[in-house]
């Protein structure tokens, strides 16, 4: 039995599988032996203390770490069964399929419309009508359309922080990804804006695979379906301590360290 959502993505089973993953910055090992299967069309939260490698892991999933000189990878990450580090993988195409929302909202210093249209344009969509449709759909999906529909020509930098972050989500949606990575997307936002983003994430999870790195444990408990807890080993390499359904991790953690962390004894 296979379930398909509207953009044709396979929502059934595991979307991403990390196998025996090691990651190094030069001689420093940032991640050790990560094995993690991430379910499709669900929200997976990655939690853990600062420096435990959770952001590094996230940035491996769309190969943003390629940009860092001297970084090295062992093991595999499979997206729909295909190793993303294989030589024949087009990294530009990968990043289109695996979008990313950053910690600090980073709209481009151009108009709201052009921010959303930027991605589709780079992928060959030129006609104005098509772009207008994409911009409207993306903004509607990101629950921002009603707030900005009358000022699409204005600079995106004039929006509030929460609106900017939803704009960045809309920008990611505009290139029709299957996976959305979120690197502490609410850490720069106030509680109301955070709530809006969380609602939005729940809606998007019906059609997209979302992976969120967060420092905020309540947020992980509120929005995610599965939770992975990362921690630093004595040599500062990050490793996966425990992984399971969010309710289980938060109510009945198997590992003592997970329990200590979520009850606030350290971190």
């Amino acid at each position: 039995m296979t379930e398909y959502n509207f953009n044709g993505q396979n929502c059934h089973g595991d979307k991403i599988k990390a196998k025996n993953l090691n990651f190094y910055y030069g001689s420093f090992q940032a991640l050790r032996d990560i094995n993690l299967d991430i379910p499709g069309c669900a929200i997976t939260a990655i939690i853990g203390p600062s420096g435990c490698g959770k952001s590094s892991f996230l940035r491996l999933l769309n190969r943003m770490n390629d940009l860092i000189y001297g970084s090295r990878i062992e093991g595999t990450i499979e997206l729909d069964g295909k190793n993303i580090f294989d030589r024949d993988v087009d990294v530009v195409e990968l990043r289109k399929n695996v979008g990313m929302v950053f910690q600090k909202p980073n709209p481009f210093p151009i108009s709201i419309f052009d921010n959303i249209a930027f991605g589709p344009k780079q992928h060959g969509k030129k006609s104005k009508i098509e772009l207008e449709e994409i911009v409207e759909n993306s903004l509607k999906q990101a629950a921002l359309w009603d707030e900005v529909k009358d000022k699409l020509g204005q600079s995106a930098l004039a929006l509030s922080g929460g609106q900017q972050q939803r704009l960045c989500i809309a920008r990611v949606l505009s290139v029709e990804p299957e996976v959305i990575l979120m690197d502490e997307p609410c850490s720069a936002l106030d509680p109301m804006a955070t709530l809006k983003i969380e609602d939005l994430m729940r809606t998007l999870a019906k059609n997209y695979t979302i992976i969120i790195v967060t420092h905020n444990m309540q947020q992980a408990a509120r929005v995610s379906d599965t939770t992975a807890f990362f921690m630093m080993e004595p040599d500062r390499a990050g490793s996966l301590v425990e992984y399971g359904s969010t309710s289980e991790i938060f109510t009945n953690p198997k590992d003592k360290r997970t329990e200590d962390y979520i009850t606030g004894r350290f971190g």
Partner: protein, 288 residues
Amino acid sequence: MTRYFTDKLAKYIVFISGFTAVVILLLIALFILREGLPAFSEIGVFDFIFGNVWRPGIDQYGILSMIVGSIAVTVVSMIMAVPLGIACAILLAEVAPSKVRSILRPAVELLVGIPSVVYGLVGLVLLVPIVSNIGGSGFSILTASIVLMVMVLPTIISISEDSIRAIPASYREGALALGATKWQTIKGVILPAAKSGIGAGVVLGMGRAIGETMAMIMVIGNSIAFPNSLLDAARTLTGNIALEINYATGTHESALFATGVVLFVFILLLNSAATVFLKRGSNAQRLG
């Protein structure tokens, strides 16, 4: 007590130093205006600026051909220097590995330090014969423009590079994370974000171009005839002053100062344009 005293003293010293620069500028402006005023009143502002004939011997003082000469070398040199300079800035800021950059950047900075008479000399010995193969004597607007291009490149390159480097890394990451290629990121996000800084660099380069004197005198031919093509010799406003001030008297001398006034106005306009560019840039960051 003493701390407050030092504080006040420092404030006054900074104020006085700052105002000195402004006062000097004002004095220069007033001086050339005063010296140039007789020429304006005797010749008439219109005849002076739009007059075609410059013959001090028979009291004909029209500087139109020199205005055209100055504008021509500035425009032609900028047409060559702007794309080259921006490309070089992109190379230095975005493309070149740090090793290449550590050689290129000092080389570009060194270009600024070369005295303009040396540029003129190289132009005279190397470029004039080459251009004369195309046509004319080789002393021409084209030759001068090529020399000028090299001279303004460092200004355009270093200001453009600085403004490209000032673009937050988050823009770059945001574009790459959308699946844009490196070039798409540069063209679609980085250059638009840096455009006000690049614009300011271009305008400052133009300021340098229009004010350049020595190198121009050496390669442009200094003819007072109205230039009809890029291969014709011409004279710039700056060259006109430098060439004749030593033996000029009376109205002739005053007319040279008046040439300085025209030059002053040109540079004032360019600097205002640069300020507008920079201001518009910082506004765009906030409002768009």
